[in-house]
């Protein structure tokens, strides 16, 4: 699967492009339309998990928090606080606890932040354009690109490989 993405200037254009992609056999669950808040997508497929930055931020939080906790745990073992004898359990505890806590906090914060993977398109989205993402099997890429270009010859189609998700996407 390769992710194709392109900007539609308005909803009518987006509807035509989505219809063209559907005709080439791309299912609705592989299509996403991202728009700024307040734009009514009507019958177009919504952004789903692309709407906010939760998962990438949660993963970053887990990784950074876990690494930070591990270092803190090692420091606690090397320089134990007065009166406490710390073993391997404390190291595991510090790692797990800070990983979980950092994941929780960064995930919560990211729920209100637009997806960082779509940062390049934020300006266009703010101006009212719609971003269309389509996950297309490798063999169908050329066909899908041709279908979209038949609607609008000037459209700039970018390929964006989706990173392998840690959690299965909905």
């Amino acid at each position: 699967m390769k992710r194709l993405c392109f900007l539609s200037p308005d909803i009518a254009h987006a509807r035509n492009a989505i219809a063209a992609l559907r005709k080439t056999g791309v299912g609705d669950r592989h299509l996403y339309v991202v728009a700024r808040h307040g734009v009514d997508l009507e019958d177009l497929p919504d952004a789903g998990p692309e709407d906010n930055d939760f998962l990438p931020a949660y993963e970053r939080g887990l990784a950074l928090g876990g690494a930070g906790g591990l270092i803190a745990g090692l420091l606690m073992m090397v320089f134990p606080p007065a009166g406490l004898a710390l073993g391997g359990g404390a190291l595991i505890f510090a790692t797990l606890y800070s990983a979980g806590f950092a994941g929780l906090l960064s995930g919560l914060v990211a729920l209100s932040v637009p997806s960082s993977r779509l940062a390049d398109f934020q300006d266009a989205l703010a101006k009212g354009a719609l971003l269309i993402l389509a996950d297309v099997p490798g063999k169908d890429i050329a066909r899908c690109e041709a279908a979209v270009r038949a609607i609008d010859a000037q459209v700039e189609i970018l390929g964006l490989e989706p990173p392998a998700p840690i959690f299965p996407s909905t």
């Binding site: 669950r29 497929p45 919504d46 952004a47 789903g48 998990p49 709407d51 939760f54 998962l55 949660y58 359990g89 505890f93 797990l96 606890y97 979980g100 806590f101 994941g103 929780l104 995930g107 919560l108 729920l111 959690f167 909905t170």
Partner: protein
Amino acid sequence: MRKDKAALRNALILGATIVGLVIVTIFLARNLAG
């Protein structure tokens, strides 16, 4: 609505994280008390 499904999944992940943190805390508290 896929947005709702994604929100539900996010909530499940957050809930599981909180439950994990609580379990780790209880485990630690029991160890410290014992």
